[in-house]
């Protein structure tokens, strides 16, 4: 079977601070992998390495078997296939909702605007925001903004979707609508790597859960294994604390 993403012994340092210490992880097509771990354990860093927003210090990361450490690799091209959604949405405030979704396909993929427009409208229908197409992001609620940010990544038709605590900046009443959208995506077979503090969501949606502790991948397994029967002391402690 194909591997979408494969990390092998990945090490990442910021100065003396070793943030990822030999992490290995594989994602197959349609996998939904949830990264859990305490604040500062390296979840965001791992995601950012996976789309080359950060460069790694040792190990390899490959996408569909192609090493991303190969100097001939064009990072912009890689990022067109690996989309990322952020905790703080980062929608472009000077562009309408529709233009936020179009900017990637039109200016990175060089597709014709008229051709992408219909797809963008379809995406807006899918996230129930068809009527907001011409509004500016600051008119939307946090939950709506995050759904637009997810639609903006999907418009790139990515092979892999990276999501970094996409509900952490949301009012508790708005978390549900975003998680529902992600659940939908999971059921449609979108390959996703998700850093999250939402343990119930991870249990329901992930097919693999990965526990990171200070840059070390301590344990990995199905949600049943991880949540009912964690093998490691530190995993147990972490799950005790967040429960």
């Amino acid at each position: 079977m194909d591997k979408v993403l494969e990390l092998t012994d990945v090490v990442k340092r910021f100065g003396d601070n070793e943030v990822l210490r030999g992490v290995s992880l594989t994602l197959h097509p349609h996998d939904v992998v949830c990264l859990i771990g305490a604040s500062g354990s390296g979840k965001s860093t791992l995601l950012r390495c996976a789309n080359l927003l950060e460069t790694i210090d040792a190990g390899t990361i490959s996408l569909f078997g192609q090493s991303l450490q190969d100097p001939r690799i064009d990072p912009d091209l890689v990022r067109q296939h690996v989309a990322m959604v952020f905790q703080s949405f980062n929608l472009f405030p000077h562009l309408s909702v529709l233009d936020n979704i179009l900017v990637g396909p039109v200016h990175a993929l060089k597709r014709r605007r008229g051709e992408v427009r219909d797809e963008a409208i379809a995406l807006l229908e899918r996230i129930d925001l068809r009527d907001k197409a011409d509004d500016y992001p600051d008119r939307l609620s946090g939950g709506q903004q995050q759904r637009v940010a997810i639609a903006r990544s999907l418009a790139m038709r990515p092979s892999l979707l990276l999501l970094d605590e996409v509900t952490s900046a949301l009012d508790p009443t708005l978390v549900g609508e975003v998680l529902d959208l992600l659940t939908d995506l999971a059921h449609q077979g979108t390959t996703m790597l998700i850093a999250t503090h939402e343990m119930n969501f991870a249990r329901d949606v992930a097919n693999q859960v990965v526990y990171l502790d200070r840059g070390v991948l301590v344990e990995q397994g199905t949600p049943e294994e991880m949540f009912s029967n964690p093998k490691h002391e530190s995993t147990r402690n972490f799950l005790e604390r967040v429960r």
Binding site: A83, N90, F92, A108
Partner: protein, 271 residues
Amino acid sequence: MGRRGLVVSALSSVVVLLVIFAIFWLAPGGPTFRAFFFNPHDMWQAFVGDPQKGLLSVGRGLVTNIWMFLLSEVLVLIFGLFIATVRLSQSPVLFPFRALATVYVDVMRGVPIVLVMYMIGFGLPELNLGFLSNQSPAVYGCATLTLSYSAYVAEVYRAGVLSVPHGQLLAARSLGLTHTATMRRVILPQAVRNVIPPLLNDFISMQKDTALVSLLGAVEATRAAQIYGDTVFNFSGFTVAAILFLLLTIPMTRFTDHLIARDRNRRLATT
């Protein structure tokens, strides 16, 4: 402001104006002061000039100020953007240019513009560099304004770009946009909005600084007023020059304040 507010502010404005007016009118030297600075006949004479008596027109002089700042503003926008781009560059290859640009900005902001004016206006002709050494004082004035104000404007541009949150850059790059496309589609459009008010402020200041070319002997509005004052021994020409400068800068200052207020309201409306 309610109706009551309007009445109160109108009343207080009238009172303040009356007090200021009374001070000038009733001061012991009031009549002399008025004759020196506000004599209508001299004001008109200074404005139109009189070639027979060797009096230059302040109004004509102002034309020099106007073309100088129009030309300098265009040049400053371009050269300032160039310096800012160099300072914001990231590539290791460009390090020496970045350092040079930083030194340039520090020097130009640190040395009084009058000194730069002297060095260029009196220094370049001494160098005997052909074309560079036989320009008119007004041209050297434009060169000085451009070199000096580009440093300020470069910093305005740079601050504008840096004021765009880092997340915007991350989001654009993760869509696979190149560095150039990210700048063009995402960062610059947001930076421009932050940049316009401070840019206009620098322009207002530059419009006034065109008067400094008089130090090199160019005849512009303040120099014409000075010649009038020295010849006729009446300073009404200075008043004329001041009024003309105000007519030029006030629309711009009002417009700048309007933009700042609009931006502020927009931010308040969204938070």
